[in-house]
């Protein structure tokens, strides 16, 4: 149960090894925080992330979660709630970036990535939404991408999965209206992280910490959609209306 200042007692990160997910959890920690759950496929890596979060009174629990194994999602969410109480904030942070060139040519790889990012995202979100609806409160944060506005050719398979998830998450938020549960869609631009190491940064590149700060502010003020950094909203408002021939020629990484 979060308090009047929007400070949550429990924070759950699905994709608990995600740097942005963990940064959001860290930014949400306050004196009322009791539990952070990192749910991830690579539990050893999750424990490393957990070590960086353990501090004082906060319990950090690492549980196994595989985004691709959609049949387990409901059970994982319920077991977290059974152990730690109501889910105050859940961050859906998992997602694979993949190799853009390989994805563009390999149907199997493209399908596998889509399964994790899109199918897994939809399944996990619905599992979380069911729990939040039963509680009558709680927030789901879905990490989308600027691709939610327009998919770039440079990484269109990944971009399409994020666009799909973005549309789904906004619809889910609308569907949950009146239930007490909320969905916040976060659209970061290029984020410097291990996922993007070695890639050429796009304009307005940001950091996990900056995305986390934007996310926490948006949660407190009850927004449904937020860009990180905020200026990308205006940039993409222009970009999405560019004629195709211009859009295709843009050097967007």
């Amino acid at each position: 149960m979060q308090n009047a200042f929007g400070q949550p007692q429990t924070i759950t990160v699905l994709g608990g090894t995600s740097e942005i997910g963990v940064a959001i959890a860290r930014a949400l920690v306050s004196p009322v925080t009791r539990t952070i759950v990192l749910a991830c496929r690579d539990v050893d890596r999750g424990e490393e992330m957990a070590a960086s979060l353990r501090d004082g009174t906060v319990t950090v629990d690492v549980v196994h979660f595989d985004a691709a194994d959609t049949g387990t999602h409901a059970a994982v969410v319920e077991s977290i709630a059974a152990k730690h109480g109501d889910l105050d904030v859940v961050v859906l942070a998992f997602g694979q970036l993949g190799d853009a060139d390989a994805l563009a040519a390999d149907p199997e790889a493209a399908a596998a990535l889509t399964h994790v990012n899109m199918t897994g995202g939809v399944s996990a979100s619905i599992a979380v939404a069911n729990r939040l609806r039963r509680q009558g409160h709680g927030s789901l944060v879905v990490l989308s991408s600027v691709a939610g506005e327009r998919v770039r050719k440079a990484n269109f398979v990944y971009g399409a999965t994020k666009a799909g998830l973005d549309g789904f998450a906004q619809g889910l938020g609308d569907h949950l209206d009146g239930s007490g549960a909320r969905v916040l869609v976060v659209r970061p631009g290029f984020v410097h992280s291990k996922m993007t190491t070695g890639m050429k940064a796009a304009p307005f590149a940001t950091t996990p910490e900056a995305v986390a700060a934007v996310t926490v502010r948006a949660l407190r003020s009850g927004r449904r959609l937020v860009w990180a950094p905020g200026i990308l909203r205006w940039v993409f408002m222009v970009l999405r209306h560019l004629p195709g021939p211009v859009w295709r020629r843009l050097p967007l990484g």
């Binding site: 009047a4 306050s30 009322v32 409160h137």
Partner: protein, 452 residues
């Protein structure tokens, strides 16, 4: 039955529950419908935080009025349904020459809510809190039965219900000892007090001579003016104190609302540091340096804010939080540091009040204990307010004090365990009367009241 978002008076942190209006006779059957999120009764929603919410569960709104109240004039007792408000009750009893034993700063609390929070008023230093004046309760228990409890009949459950925040059962009715009054007016002494030291001294010396006493503190004042205040002390006016024109109808009573705040207040609210500081300056200057024996109406003296309906809307979308703590006598330095920190943080509070509590009662979760209590309203959107209040919590607990559940919207289970060392005693009663956790609330979940 309808799914609805409920929040406290502070309008922060709403949750959605199944909400159903019930008569006393329908309570038992309705409670059976509750699922694993349990049931809770809600009165008029004047608790500031999440005390009267039960996200995902069932919330009963017990209907009631004082029209079926039974007044035993010989014994000075009234038996009234728990869904009736103090406002309802006063409209019945004041014209007959009786007053409620305890009233908070609003008339719009139910009898059930007054019991669940064990409310106090400006007379705590003389009369104690609400529990001190209740002879017996009828309580809807989780197992479907109805119990009648009193200080001699299941005293444990009786006392656990005061301050128990609705988690021991649903109060259906209560028998309350009333106060005899000659008139419906108050005789009020008002004085300006220059600073905090003077306030502590003046209240320590003079409070006992009056049934009611409270100081309004200008939190915008700093430095040498820190703690400057308006101290008002009052008593029920005797018939011979009334001016002749009021003696014709000495028990006339009919408080009215002057205006109501519309739902469309600008998003950030209209109460900010500038407007509040201006108001406080005006209020302090308007207070006479010293005035004795002014005749005031009950409503004007006890419930000035009730004249403005829905005043909590003035705080806009972020809502408001109230902070109320008590620190024991002898810890005036701690109270001074708390007021200094609030003043230094520029907290925009136009409703900071200080009063002295008298003896505590046997209820394990009753808030009042002998000492100084400070209560203030603040806009919830203030930067760093959560951190500030946590720091104040630590100061209060280190001094041997505690916070008030009915006002709380921010604190932690650990704070409650330090401030209420008898929590385990209360939990033992709850385990006995509600082993399956049929009664639940957001406050209970947030502060893990039923756990351990």
């Amino acid at each position: 039955m309808a799914r609805r978002a409920l929040s406290g008076w502070g309008r922060t942190n709403p949750t959605v529950a199944e909400v159903v209006d019930v008569l006393r006779s329908e309570v038992a059957a309705t409670v059976k419908e509750a699922g694993d999120r349990g049931a809770l009764v809600r009165g008029l929603g004047r608790s500031y935080g999440d005390a009267a919410q039960n996200g995902g569960g069932l919330v009963l709104r017990l209907q009631g009025s004082a029209s079926d109240a039974v007044l035993d004039a010989a014994a000075g007792l009234v038996t009234v349904g728990a869904g009736a408000s103090l406002d309802d009750l006063m409209r019945v009893i004041v014209p007959r020459g009786w007053f409620v034993p305890v009233t908070p700063g609003t008339r719009f609390v139910t009898i059930g809510g007054a019991i669940a929070s064990d409310i106090h008023g400006k007379n705590h230093h003389v009369d104690g809190s609400f529990a001190n004046h209740v002879e017996q309760l009828t309580l809807q228990l989780a197992d479907g039965s109805v119990a009648t409890v009193s200080p001699t009949n299941d005293a444990e459950l009786f006392w656990a219900t005061f301050g128990g925040m609705g988690l021991t059962g649903i109060v259906l009715s209560a028998t309350i000892r009333l106060l005899r009054i000659e008139t419906s007016r108050m005789s009020v002494d008002t004085q300006r007090v220059a600073d905090l030291d003077a306030l502590f001294a003046t209240m320590s010396e003079g409070d006992e001579a009056h049934r009611y006493s409270v100081a309004w503190i200008d939190l915008a004042a700093k430095g040498r003016q820190l703690g400057r205040s308006a101290l008002t002390r009052g008593d029920h006016a005797r018939f011979d104190e009334l001016p002749l024109r009021l003696q014709a109808d000495p028990l006339a009573y009919g408080p009215r609302q002057l205006l109501s705040v519309p739902p469309l207040v600008p998003r950030p609210g209209v109460l900010n540091h500038a407007t509040v500081a201006a108001f406080n300056e005006f209020w302090f200057r308007k207070t006479p340096r010293s005035r004795v024996g002014e005749i005031q109406e009950i409503g004007a003296y006890f419930h000035p804010l009730d004249m403005v309906g829905d005043w909590n809307r003035l705080y806009g979308r972020p809502g408001l939080v109230q902070y109320q703590c008590v620190v024991p006598f002898g810890q005036e330095d701690v109270m001074r540091r708390i007021i200094e920190q609030l003043s230094a943080a520029g907290v925009a509070s136009f409703l900071a009040v200080l009063k002295r509590f008298g003896a505590a009662n046997p209820a394990p979760l009753s808030f009042p204990q002998p000492g100084w209590t400070l209560a203030l309203d603040m806009p919830a959107g203030g930067q760093g307010l959560g951190t500030l209040l946590h720091r104040l919590d630590t100061m209060v607990l280190d001094a041997g004090g505690r916070n008030y559940f009915a006002k709380d919207a921010h604190t932690t289970p650990e704070t409650v365990r330090r401030g209420y060392p008898r929590l385990a005693e209360w939990q033992a009663v709850r385990r006995r009367v509600d082993p399956l956790q049929g009664w639940q609330s957001d406050l209970g979940r947030r502060l893990l009241l039923a756990a351990d």
